[in-house]
Amino acid sequence: MSPIRKPRTLGLAAGAILALTLAGAALAQTAAEKAVGARQAGFKQIGAAFKTINDEARAGKPDMAAIAAAAAKLKTHAAQVPTWFPKGSGVESGAKTGAKAEIWSDAAGFASASANFQAQANKLQQLAAAGNVDATKAQVRQVGAACQACHSKYREKD
C-alpha cells in the first residue's frame, strides 16, 4: 500500500469502528430496560395466573385444584416481586415504565405491600387445596384487594 493511501485506510477503519460502536450502543438494552422487561414479563405471569383463578371462581363449579395451582404460582411470583425493582429502574432511567418513584422512596411500605400479596396468595392456595369453595371465592377478592392496594400507590394509572 502506498504511503499516501495509508491515512485514508486508517480513517476508514476508525470510521467503521465508530459506526459499529454506535450501532452496538443503540441495539444494546440498558440495564434499566432489561429490569423493566423482566418485571413486566413477571407481572404478565401474575395476570395470567390471576385470570385463571377468576375464571374458575366465576364458573358454576370451580376447579379447586386449578385455583390452588394458580395460587401457588402467585405465591412464587409474589416472593420475586421485590427483586423486580432494582434501584435505577424507574422512569428517571429513561425506560418506559409505570413504576412510581414511591417504590424506592417508600421502600418499607412497598415491601409490606408485596409481603401482604404473598400472604394472601398463600391463604388462597390453602383454601383452594382444602376444597372450600365459598371461602376460596371470598379470598380471591382479598388477593384482588392486595393487588389494588399496591397498584394504587406504586403504579402510574395508564
Binding site: F43, K44, I46, G47, A48, A49, F50, K51, T52, N54, D55, R58, A59, G60, G144, C147, Q148, H151, D158
Partner: protein, 224 residues
C-alpha cells in the same frame, strides 16, 4: 324552513327513536365508567348496548319501514349521485336515511357491534376485571383484545363526530331539522313522500325478548 308548505308525516317509529337515544346515553355511560375504571358499571352498560344493537339489527329487518336496512342501504351509484347534491342548499329532503347517511348508520352499527363484541373478551392488565366471555381466551389474547377495544372506541368517536357534524351541516346550511324528527318522529316532507309504515306490536315484543334474552345469556358468560 326549506320544507315549508308541506305536511308533517310520521317518519321514525318509537322503537327506532328510543333505541337511538338509549345508545347515545349508554355510549356516554360506557365512556365515563371506562375512564374512571368503574368496571362493574361498565359491564352493565355494555350489556345494555349489546341488547340495543341486537334489537336494532332485528328491527332493521322486522321493524317499521324506515328502520329497515333494505329501505335505506343503497349501492355506490345512488350514494355517489346523492353525495354530489351535498353542496346544494335546496336539495329535496329524503324520507328516512339519505343514501350517504345510510352508510354512516351502517358503519356506526357495525363498529358498535364489534366494540361490544371485543369488550366481551377483554381482560384488564391485572387479570382481575374482564368481559363475560373472557374465560374462552388466554390472558394474552384478552389483553390484545382490550387494546383493540381502545382503538374501537377511538373509531367510534370519529364516526360519532362525523354524524354530529353532518346533522349540524343539514341544520345550519341546508335548513333541514333532522334532530326534531328523531325526537318526535315526524317530519315535513314533500307531497310525494312515503310515510312510515309501522310494524305490529308483536314484532316489537319478539325483538325485545330476543335482545334482552341474548344480552342476559351473554352477561352470564353463556355458562348455565
Amino acid at each position: 324552513m326549506g320544507e315549508g308548505g308541506s305536511r308533517a308525516i310520521p317518519l321514525w317509529d318509537l322503537p327506532t327513536r328510543l333505541t337511538h337515544w338509549a345508545i347515545a346515553v349508554a355510549f356516554g355511560v360506557s365512556w365515563y365508567t371506562a375512564d374512571n375504571h368503574l368496571m362493574g358499571a361498565h359491564r352493565i352498560s355494555g350489556y345494555v348496548i349489546l341488547g340495543l344493537v341486537v334489537f336494532r339489527l332485528y328491527w332493521g329487518v322486522a321493524g317499521g319501514s324506515t328502520a329497515r336496512f333494505a329501505s335505506f342501504v343503497r349501492g355506490p351509484g345512488a350514494t355517489l349521485a346523492y353525495a354530489r347534491t351535498l353542496p346544494r342548499r335546496d336539495s329535496v329532503a329524503v324520507a328516512g336515511h339519505n343514501p350517504l347517511g345510510a352508510w354512516s348508520v351502517v358503519a356506526m352499527i357495525v363498529l358498535l357491534a364489534a366494540q361490544v363484541g371485543m369488550g366481551l373478551f377483554a381482560v384488564d392488565v391485572d387479570g382481575f376485571e374482564s368481559g363475560p366471555l373472557s374465560h374462552w381466551v388466554s390472558f394474552e389474547t384478552g389483553r390484545t383484545i382490550a387494546g383493540a377495544h381502545e382503538w374501537g372506541f377511538r373509531g367510534l368517536l370519529v364516526l360519532i363526530g362525523l354524524h354530529l357534524a353532518a346533522v349540524a351541516y343539514y341544520h345550519l346550511y341546508k335548513r333541514q331539522n333532522l334532530i326534531g324528527a328523531m325526537i318526535h318522529g315526524r317530519r315535513r316532507l314533500g307531497e310525494g313522500a312515503e310515510p312510515l309504515k309501522g310494524a305490529p306490536l308483536w314484532r316489537l315484543a319478539l325483538g325485545v325478548a330476543i335482545a334482552a334474552g341474548l344480552a342476559w345469556a351473554i352477561a352470564k358468560g353463556l355458562r348455565f
